[in-house]
Structure formats: C-alpha cells, structure tokens
C-alpha cells in the first residue's frame, strides 16, 4: 500500500460523504450550497471562527489519541467520553480543594489528576479484556455511561456549589489557577498540550521498541506471547495511556474553559474522538488536522442553527456519513487499484513476493529477538 493511496482514499471517501450529505440536505429542504458556505464560514471563514474551531480541536486531539493508542494494540475503545467527564470532575475537585496557593502547582495537579483517573477508568477496560476476556468495545461504552452517571451524581449532589442555581456545578476554580493561552494564539493552553501529546505519542509509537512491541501485540497476540511479551501488560497499559489522554482533555476543558465541573463536560467530544481516530487511520500526527476539521464542523453547527434554522444534529449526520464512508473505503485499499492499473497500463505490481508473504509466527519472534 503506497502512501499516496493512504491519503487519497480517505479524502475520496470524505468527498463522497459530502456529496451524500448535500443530497440529504437538499432532500430535507435546505439549500445545499448555502449549507456548505456557512459550514466554511463558521469553521474557517474568519479569525474568530478559526479560534472557535481550534478551541474545539484541542480536546478532540486528545480524545482522538484515546482511541488511536489502544488501536495500536488491536483494541477498539469507544468509551472516551466517560474518562473525559471523570477527568474533568477530578480537575474541578483538585482545582478547588487542592493546592490553591501556587497556580502552577494547581494547574499541574489538575491536569495530572484528570489524566490519572482517565487512565484508571479505561485501564479497567483493558484489565477486563485481559483477565476476563470481555470485549473492550462494549465494556468501555458501559463504563462511559457509569462515568457520566458519577459526574451527574457528584455535581448535583455531594460536590454541588450552593450558588450554582441554573446549572449544578462544583465550586468555581480560582481565576489564578485557570490555564492561560497557547503562545501566539488566542486559544487556551489545551491546544499546545494536545499538539505536543500527539507528537510524543507519534514518536513513541514509531521510533521506540515500546511502539514496536505494541504493534506486535496488536498484530498477533500469540506471536507476542511467544516472543516473551507480557500481552496483558501491553493491553492494560495501552488502554490506560488512551484513558489518560481522554482524562487530560476533560481536565483541560474544566481548567481552561468551564472553570468548574458540570454537565457541559458531556459534550460528545469523547465520541467524536472515535471518528477522528478512524479518519486519521489511527495515525497520531494525522489526528491533528482531522481534529481541527471536525472541530471546525462542530463550530459551524451553531451557525447552521442560527442562519438556516437547521437542527443541531445536522453536523452529527455529516460526521456519521463521513465515518461510514471512511470505514467502507478500507475495502478499496490495496490490491484492486494495482490490479486495475495492471490491466490498463500493464504496470507490474511493485510489491516483491517477499514483502507479500505473510509474516509467520516464527518470523515475528525472530524479529523481536533481534530487537
């Protein structure tokens, strides 16, 4: 599979989804052209909308990583929303009751606390997968519902600030402890943290033995076991790392945007992360532009609502169509193109027989021994 194809096919899939969306919008009685113009204007048409899009992209990068890291180990985790809201709750509690005298210490402890609880939450799904053989997709989604229930319980119950009347919240975090702006941007620090994390994850996955081992675990758990890798640790560890990213995104939302933990945390960012990771083909660096794109579409949703009186679910429909198209495009990856090219131009496939041969268990374990 060449790299051009890896870029072109997802783009083609998104283009197809956009076409379907235009058709859908037209059938629903809205002017498709106006919808797309507004989508562009609302997402990237002005510096204000750019800031709005980037502000939304910041948590989305992290929730995308929350899916992409376990995916390296062959796991489909879709419960990032739960880890995210609990990370936000932890940050809200630490920001108020923790070390408030030093803003820097408060900020660091809020972010670490959020990441920690997220790691435990999704790490549990990894444990259930390894120790009890429970499908991680289902368990992580159930854990998300439990996490959201816990947030609602604490925010409306034991941790409720009596002064928050309309919207039950935890007490507000002191102004001094709130996160500042990313240097050079009018967007909070979360953007910088997200981008840096994406680069770190990319580097670890691509250039270290850590990333290589994880790939082996994802590719063939039996081979990994034969090679002496403790599969369970890798499964739980990758889930915990993903959960940490989701928890961190929730903590950032509280420490930079909301200023207190409340139901605003249940924003769907965790769910959008699934789409983003799949669109980016689980590549941490590709997650950054995709998150900005999806954040932009989300930012433009409000504009569609105000200007054309469209339902707020419009952007979910577009996201859903893009998601389906991206997944289905997997089927045209690889061989068919070459076969077509071969038939038309008589081009020889450029893969050598050696590269085509399936990697056997023995080959994988010798590879690992070499490492």
């Amino acid at each position: 599979m060449n790299s051009l194809e890896r870029i072109l096919v997802p783009f083609g899939a998104v283009a197809l989804a956009v076409l379907f969306f235009a058709l859908f919008v037209a059938l629903a009685g809205y002017p498709p052209l106006d919808v797309f113009v507004l989508l562009y204007k609302g997402a990237f048409g002005s510096s204000f909308s750019w800031n709005n899009s980037l502000q939304r992209a910041a948590p989305l990068i992290l929730t995308g990583l929350a899916v992409a890291i376990p995916a390296r180990a062959g796991l489909v985790i879709i419960g990032g929303e739960g880890a995210m809201v609990l990370g936000g709750l932890a940050a809200g509690v630490i920001g108020v009751y923790g070390a408030t005298h030093s803003p820097l210490l408060a900020q660091v402890s809020m972010l670490l606390g959020g990441a920690l609880i997220g790691a435990v939450w999704i790490g549990l799904c990894g444990w259930m997968r390894h120790a009890r053989g429970i499908n991680e997709t289902i368990s992580s989604l159930l854990m998300a519902y439990i996490g959201i229930a816990l947030l609602n319980h604490f925010v409306e119950g034991p941790l409720k600030d009596p002064n928050s009347l309309n919207k039950p919240s935890t007490p507000p975090i002191p102004e001094a402890s709130m996160l500042g702006l990313t240097p050079g941007f009018d967007v909070h620090m979360g953007l910088l943290i997200g981008v840096v994390m994406a680069f770190i994850v990319w580097a670890v996955l691509h250039f270290t033995t850590l990333g290589f081992s994880l790939k082996i675990v994802g590719g063939n758990p039996r081979a990994a076991q034969l090679a002496g890798l403790r599969v369970g640790r890798w499964i739980i560890g990758s889930c915990a790392a993903g959960g940490a990213a989701a928890g961190l995104s929730g903590a950032i939302e509280v420490a930079a945007v909301h200023g207190a933990a409340n139901a605003s945390l249940i924003s769907g960012y965790g769910n959008a992360g699934i789409l983003i990771a799949f669109m980016a083909r689980q590549n941490p660096l590709a997650i950054i532009p995709v998150a900005i794109l999806i954040g932009g579409i989300g930012a433009a949703g409000g504009m569609l609502q105000r200007r054309l009186d469209m339902p707020d679910a419009t952007v979910i429909v577009l996201q859903g169509m893009a998601f389906i198209a991206i997944l289905a495009s997997e089927a045209v990856m690889g061989s068919p193109w070459r076969r077509i090219a071969q038939r038309i131009w008589g081009i020889e496939p450029n893969t050598t027989p050696v590269a085509r041969a399936p990697v056997t268990v023995e080959a994988k374990s010798t590879l690992l021994e070499a490492v």
Binding site: M143, A313, I316, L327, A328
Partner: protein
Amino acid sequence: MSVEVESLGWLGVPLAVFAGAIRVSTPFMLVSLGECITEKSGRINLGLEGSLVMGAMAAYAASLKTGSPWIGLWAAAGVGAMFGLLHGLLCSLKRVNDIAIGTALMLFGTGLAFFLGKPYIQPKAPNLPSIPLGAWIDNPQLANALNVNPLFPFGIALAFFLHWAFKNTSWGLKLRIVGDSADAALALGYRIIPARIIATMCGGVLAGLGGAFLSLYYPGSWNEALSSGQGIIAVALVIFARWQPLRCVGAALLFGGAGALGPALQAAGVSSGYHLFNAAPYVLTLLILIVSCSPTRSLQGAPGELSLTRS
C-alpha cells in the same frame, strides 16, 4: 405510577421493580433477540443503538401522521430493516470491521433521528394500547403492574419460536452453520453473505420495534434523551444469555428490574443517589460480563465466526 407507589411507601419499591421488570424489559428483550439472530450468523451489530433510536423516531412520526400506533410499528420495523441492510452490506465488503461499522451506524442513526425527529418533540402521538392482564385482581397497584404492552407477549412468543426454530428448521440450522464455520457452510454450498445480511436485517427489525416501544408505550413520547444505551446493553445481554433466546428473556427481565430501581426509589422518597441508581443496569451488565466471561476458554455456545469472542 409514581403516585400509587407513594401511597404504598416502601412496600411500593419491590412492586415497582416487578412492574418495571415487565415494562422496562421489553426493549431489552426485543433488541437482544434481534442481536441473537445476527450473532448466530457470525456477525455483531453494535449499531443497533442507532436502529433503535431511528425506530423510535419513525414509529412516533408515523403514529402521529396516520393516527395509528400499529402503522408506527411497521414504520419502525421498516427503518430497522434498512439500517440492518446497510450494516449487512457494508460488512460484506473486504477488510471492513463489523464492530467499527456498528459504532459508525450508532452515530449516524442517532444523528439522523435527531435531525428528522426535531418537529416531533412537541406533538402528542397516539400510543400503543395496553393489555389489562391484571383486571381480575382487586388490588389496583398490582393490577396496574400487570397492564402489559402488546410487544411484551410478542417478545416472549418470539423467544420460544426462535428457541425451537434454531434447532428444528432448515434455515435455523443454516444460520448456525454459517455462524459457526464459514468453511463448513461453503462446503455445504450455503451462500454465506446473503444469510448474514438477512440475519442482520432481522436484528435491525427487532431493534426498530424496541425503539417503537420506547416512543409509543413507555415513556411514550419522542425526545433526544429517549434511549439510554438500551441498544448497547442488549448486545452485552446476548453474551450473558449465551446466545440462547430463552435466556435472553430472563436477562431482559433482570435488567428491566434493575432499570426500574432508580425511579422506584425516587418515588419512595430517596432522591440523593438518583443518578447512581440509574446507572445500576450498566454496573450490573459489567458485573455479569466479569462473572460469565473467561479469558482462557471460548464462551460456551458462542458462534465460531464471531469476532467478538476472538482471543
């Protein structure tokens, strides 16, 4: 409901849980029976949550437009079949992961239902009638608890039928072979992909009907917070039920009871842990999965082709 429970005080809680087991269990039962058919064919459809929400919306809209809740049921079944067909076709493509497609259809189905269902949030559509099985009992609370919806006996009958049909009909056997071993099915000359697509469509129909129950019987209205993951819980229930239709009914009743615990306690005056009690079904699902799954042996009764139970 809540008024009657209040008059009974604490004694009302077990009664409400019993009534809830009957009332709340219906969508769990229908969706899990549908998923049972789909998984028997060797595929898993996580997108049933999307089919369920779409079914709820379609049923409500159709009932409102035509004035007949029964036409609403047909609409829900049709929409569910379409979503099942979409899942079945997409998963028949090469290298397409059924779990990921299910997740995408979950997002798409809920988004589409919220988009198309916006105009139906306010108006009141005619609901399904209930069958007063308890009319002969003097105690009004108990009689009320036995007011069952028409989809409940349908679900029970369907479970018995499937239990019989999986073993005793030729298509039941075909379905099981396709799900257990694609190689064996090929050797016998069965067409695997059409069988799986039809099985997924059946699952979609039942998920749509489960959604119709939500919007046309209990709670009996359409809004965006209607489903709370019934579609996804039902998928987990099938694992717990070991792919046996009759056990699906038992599991659904258990979950209906757990789901009714929160509202019942709230009605009895316990308001503090409301959200926690509402999370009871999810916790229960996880605990049941932890107890019933095993990392070392494949699950008893699991279809061999199912990606869900890969190790």
